[in-house]
Amino acid sequence: MSTTVDTTAATAAPKERTPLRPARVLLHVFLAGMALAWLGPLLWALYAAMRPYGETSEKGYVSWPDKLSFDNFTNAFTQSDMTHYFLNTLIVAVPAVLVTLFLSSMVAFYVSRFDFRVNIFLLLVFTAGNLLPQQVIITPLYRLYLLIDLPGITMSGKLYDSALGLVLIHVAFQSGFCAFVLSNYMRSLPHELTEAALVDGASVWRLYWQIVLPLCKPAMAALGTLLSIWIYNDFFWALVLISTGENMPITSALNNLSGQYFTDPNLVAAGALLTAIPTLVVYFALQRQFVSGLTLGANKG
């Protein structure tokens, strides 16, 4: 293969397009084929979701369509009152993302600016906690949530089966990752910045709120995008910590909803795709943030 030459030519003069070589064409064919195969399951779900149930049950799923429409989507949406479940998600996800960013940026500020010895220990605790499988802590957590009485504060009167409970565990679990990423980011900011402000008599809080935090906007945006998608996609916490089907966020509710349209796979497909839409919108709108958030943790910030 002559692609080695290709690579060096490309690195030497990236602006100039190298003439198409057979190897390059082959590579494009391969990648396009793979990409299509990768989209295949989703396209198949979309195809099934756009066909009426009567038609597919008569002609089979692998058949030419007579009629394509979005009826299944509207039906799935209204029949199962999806707005309600989307709102449930919103009530959990928005506070959880904001509080996680707020708390983890404070920890990051402290460890990156003030105490380097505690820094490592604290970060170790936070990151290790974030890497644990959720099932390790779920049994005692479930009991704890049942034991904590909050009459008048949550609908259920307990931490169990409440949006507050979900927000708390999301914040506690995700702040580990965020504190780690943010502290690395903050450490790369020049120290003279905060030092000068301290000499001028600025309070620690001003230092954090008016100097350091505004400089962390790119990292915060990336983490915010990542957290929104993770928390939106959470299935497990709500499955165990919410007992009332009505209170479930959309991703976990999907499991029950699919039971409602059990005889109609087309409707299930439509419901599942509707659930995926918000994440896809966020992903396409903020792809750069999402990817950089993910790799921020895995590589140098």
């Binding site: 590579l27 708390l103 479930y142 506690a172 996609n233 499991n255 497909a269 990817v291 895995a298 590589n299």
Partner: protein, 329 residues
């Protein structure tokens, strides 16, 4: 990064020794300077800023993790603390010798890891290497491969059911196995279902690995590649001898992420068949013990402890190595 995490549940990934070297060295000195300038109110603010998040995290994550360990040696009906009884290793004995689901679950978790590391991980690396070649439409391809990583595992479970469903699914419709009597039950058959689910899991994992490797490849010095080409190495030799060795930090992250993902595997299986025969996993056993009819707190905790021990064996050496490198820097 699981996370997804997460994942998220996605496995979150701390960096393998990051932190700009020069600044870190300086940071070790500066704090003392900062310290002296602090007023009492500042110290209080700082204490709260570090303390409150730490208390929340420790209370909900670490206290519960240690409670898992403690409860694993007891029986408890969950009503009142008086009924907690110390039973020593009874729960573990019963788990290891008397639970027909336990050893299959351990085996499936291991298979999950081996499958992910052998198939989608190298595939992700391969795709990343191809996409790193300054190729046209690279972003389009990346978007396609990465799309499954953005979607929730629950949605992925439903999407793949449309492919595996015995009578209405794509595969059986294509091969004519969708007639009664000819069904191939991809979801129910204990010999098939784990592999069917692993294909769906790999579909997602490959894109995740691709992104991690792409980021790693961006950090490879282009002059290395040029030098290797000038020496007359072909593409494979360059990759094997030059590129892959420099990807070592990324490989570590990938390994840890894959192990954590294998231990966390839950959503997909739960949506598929709730962990029926053939797809038992440790995470499923723990969960079924809570939301199932006969909740046995001590016993469920014992399973969680097995999961915890395996996780810590991976997490602790990894984090210690990461942080030590950082401190040295």
């Amino acid at each position: 990064m699981t996370t997804t995490p997460t994942e998220s549940p996605e496995a979150a990934t701390p960096p393998p020794g990051s932190g700009p070297a020069a600044k870190t060295a300086k940071a070790a000195k500066v704090p003392r300077g900062h310290r002296r300038l602090l007023t009492r109110r500042d110290r209080l603010t700082l204490g709260l800023m570090a303390g409150l998040p730490t208390i929340l995290h420790v209370a909900l994550v670490w206290v519960t993790a240690f409670a898992s360990i403690a409860l694993a040696f007891t029986t408890w009906d969950g009503i009142g603390f008086d009924s907690i009884k110390w039973v020593g290793f009874d729960n573990f004995k019963e788990l290891f010798t008397n639970n027909p689901q336990f050893w299959p679950a351990v085996e499936h978790n291991i298979i999950w890891f081996v499958a992910l590391i052998l198939i989608p991980t190298p595939l992700g690396l391969f795709l990343a290497v191809q996409l790193d070649k300054q190729i046209r439409f690279s972003r389009v391809y990346q978007t396609a491969f990465f799309l499954p990583v953005v979607m929730s595992l629950a949605v992925i479970g439903f999407v793949w059911q449309l492919i595996y469903n015995p009578d209405t699914g794509l595969i059986n419709s294509l091969i004519g196995a969708n007639e009664p009597g000819h069904y191939i039950d991809w979801i129910g058959d204990p010999d098939l279902n784990l592999w069917a689910i692993l294909i769906a899991a790999s579909w997602r994992h490959a894109g995740y690995m691709m992104i991690l490797y792409l980021a790693g490849l961006k950090g490879v010095d282009p002059s290395l590649r040029e030098a290797s080409a000038l020496d007359g190495a072909n593409e494979w030799q360059t990759f094997k001898n030059v590129i892959f060795p420099t990807l070592r930090p990324t490989n570590t992250v990938v390994l840890v992420v894959t192990i954590i993902e294998a231990l966390r595997a839950f959503d997909l299986v739960f949506v598929f068949n709730k962990g029926a025969e053939g797809t038992e996993l440790l995470s499923i056993l723990v969960t079924n013990n809570i939301i199932g009819e006969s909740s046995r707190i001590g016993y469920g905790s014992a399973i969680a402890v097995v999961l915890l021990v395996i996780s810590l064996v991976v997490i602790i050496p990894y984090l210690i190595a990461t942080f030590r490198k950082e401190r040295r820097a």
